[in-house]
């Protein structure tokens, strides 16, 4: 024990770090901030440290070459002892990091921590969010599989829509005219050197400001932030009734960080590593690329935006979002901090959470995509064929063979791209059905060139049978009057 003390003194005489470290650790913080609400920032940092360690471990094996990356991932998964576990830790660590950064951001927003004098802390925090998302996207590319390849294609297509410089932006992003070796190499450099460098720098500045300015006090309804008086009030709060950060507050941070690490490890063991999916071979086109979890909402949004609005929203939306986040502390730098008296702030968080959650949920089910194999794998339920005429049954055959089932469901089987047809005969008359099939419209291709008149007649005859037994199909009343009731045969 005496020896250790002597060694410690030997080093401290030369380094002279003991005192500043002790002072930093024991700096006073407001009593109420020793709370379970204040643990997300340190947990995000813990995730980042885990990512650094596991990232370096993966780099020992991974080959950042378009021709070999996929094979090296297979070796990591199957050939190296516990390689799959390190990959799983890195993948789940990334998901947890994004999630915790978002939770941290929501908490800081609801607690008014971005107000005077912590505006710059918030701004650097926004940059940290962007850089974290940048790590998530570039990391997804390094898992160089089909999803990564076509994900790059989506990124390039978006970049190409930037006015004037679009084509150059694509070449700069891909490192050449196509997605190939140069693309993976530059995303490797971004993911391993450039973006982590920025992340470390921003984390340093962020932490420095948290120490210099002090942690945000617990917001009390009615305690208003004013530039003239805040610093004085905060000093009184910390020095009169403050507690030392270590050990009074830090133990909750340590416990929560440990809990997060355990949660990541449990997910890694239970669910395993992410992919890789199929080989990044662009000639294999039987694939339905999807982005990773945190970009699913964007994937869903891209299928719902009307074509004319897509490019402007895609290019202007993110810029507006970032500007709003950066401007927030300047617009609302003073005033009420407590979320109990900031209903619009609470509503904003709820709206964003519900919006992102809904879009993510939709992206997991992709109701907008045709079910590519419904025509051959999902037969028409038998009750739709009982007691039908030969013509109507032939129509059912046309329905399958011409792949109507890929976009239209019957009895909840088949695609959801177009409306379900279980009772289509109630909505459309015979004439309207013929017109819709031949000309399309309302986001449906026209089948006039693909169906013979006989096929169209059979198909419409089948569609006319799609109505509940106790309800009659839609009829054109004026036609009945014009032709005389006897000439229109009811189906």
């Amino acid at each position: 024990m005496l020896l250790m003390q002597k060694v410690g003194e030997w080093f401290d005489l030369r380094l002279q770090l003991g005192r500043p470290i002790r002072e930093t650790a024991e700096h006073p913080v407001p009593r109420e901030t020793a709370s379970w609400f204040y643990v997300f920032g340190s947990a995000a940092l813990t995730c980042f440290l885990l990512q650094i360690v596991t990232g370096i471990l993966l780099a020992l094996i991974y080959v950042p070459s378009a021709g070999e990356a996929w094979n090296s991932l297979q070796t990591l998964n199957h050939g190296i002892s516990l390689g799959w576990f390190i990959r799983a830790l890195h993948g789940w660590g990334s998901n947890f990091m994004v999630a915790i950064v978002l939770i941290h951001m929501a908490q800081v927003f609801l607690f008014g921590a971005y107000k005077f004098p912590r505006e710059l802390t918030w701004i650097v925090g926004v940059l940290l969010l962007l850089v974290t998302l940048g790590m998530a996207f570039t990391g997804q590319v390094l898992r160089f599989d089909q999803d990564a390849y076509w994900g790059l294609g989506i990124g390039a297509s978006i970049a190409s829509r930037v006015p004037v410089i679009g084509p150059w932006a694509v070449n700069l992003m891909l490192g050449g005219p196509i997605i190939a070796g140069a693309t993976l190499s530059r995303f490797f450099a971004l993911h391993v050197f450039v973006v982590p460098g920025l992340l470390i720098a921003f984390v340093g500045v962020h932490l420095l400001m948290v120490l210099k300015l002090g942690i945000n006090e617990w917001p009390m309804p009615g305690r208003i932030v004013r530039r003239a008086t805040y610093l004085q009030e905060y000093r009184e709060l910390t020095h009169k009734q403050g507690i030392p950060f270590v050990p009074e507050a830090v133990w909750k941070d340590i416990f929560f960080s440990g809990f997060i690490l355990v949660a990541i490890a449990v997910c890694a063991v239970h669910f395993g590593p992410f992919g890789p999916s199929g080989q990044p071979d662009p000639t294999i086109i039987q694939t339905a690329p999807r982005p990773d979890f945190f970009f699913l909402w964007l994937y869903a949004l891209l299928s719902f935006l009307p074509p004319s609005a897509e490019t402007p929203i895609l290019l202007i939306g993110p810029a507006v979002g970032i500007i709003v986040l950066l401007a927030l502390p300047f617009v609302a730098g003073e005033g009420e901090k407590s979320w109990k008296r900031r209903p619009i702030a609470v509503l904003t968080i709820l709206l964003v959470a519900v919006g992102l959650g809904t879009l993510t949920h939709l992206a997991e089910h992709t109701p907008w995509s045709p079910v590519m194999d419904a025509w051959s794998s999902q037969p028409i339920p038998a009750e739709f064929l009982h007691g039908r005429t030969a013509l109507e049954r032939h129509g059912a055959l046309v329905f399958q063979v011409k792949q109507c089932h890929n976009c239209h469901s019957l009895d909840d089987r088949g695609g959801q791209r177009g409306p379900a047809l279980d009772s289509v005969a109630l909505r459309l008359t015979e004439d309207q059905l013929i017109r819709q099939v031949i000309q399309g419209g309302g986001n449906m291709p026209g089948y006039g060139k693909n169906l013979s008149p006989a096929e169209t007649t059979a198909l419409v005859a089948f569609l006319e049978t799609l109505h509940p037994a106790n309800q009659k199909p839609a009829r054109n009343a004026s036609q009945t009057v014009a032709l005389g009731a006897s000439e229109v045969s009811p189906r």
């Binding site: 076509w150 294609g153 390039a156 297509s157 970049a159 070796g181 080989q279 086109i285 045709p370």
Partner: protein, 181 residues
Amino acid sequence: MSAENGISRRAALVKLGMFLNGIVGAALAVPIVRYLLSPVIREKKIGYDSWLSLGGLEQFPAGQTRLATYRNPVVNSWDGETGDIACWVRNVDDQTFQVFAINCAHLGCPVRWFAQSNLFMCPCHGGAYYQDGSRASGPPERGLFQYRYKVEGGRLLIKAGEMPTPGQPVANKAGGKTTCS
């Protein structure tokens, strides 16, 4: 040595040193920026945007649409299979062909051909195209991208070398027309 004129010799030397470093930095920045921008300002390499064979005409029967692949004209040895690109070849009447890029005109996903319904469908966001490549439905704003082609010595050649993207109407002035409605 002393600061008689309000500026000491050493302060002046510091400024001069910073100025010289500024010049050196600027001079170094030029090649660095040039290096970084090389994918953009590259000269047309030999073989880039060249005629590539998709194989003999017998592979593409009249009235049908078939998948074809080619090796990109500019590749490095470490590109692996990413240098192989697929495209759809439609033989209209043995005289006229259409060669469509595999990339959806919406966001570049690989479209699939369905001969039964004569439609191209995209698995990502549900874009659909008619057999002539024109837009049928869904989010795409235009028809499929088309490569220029020619028939030479019984082989089908196309001009390719760049991934087609919506903002980049390079390879395809003859892009599919959009339908009304």
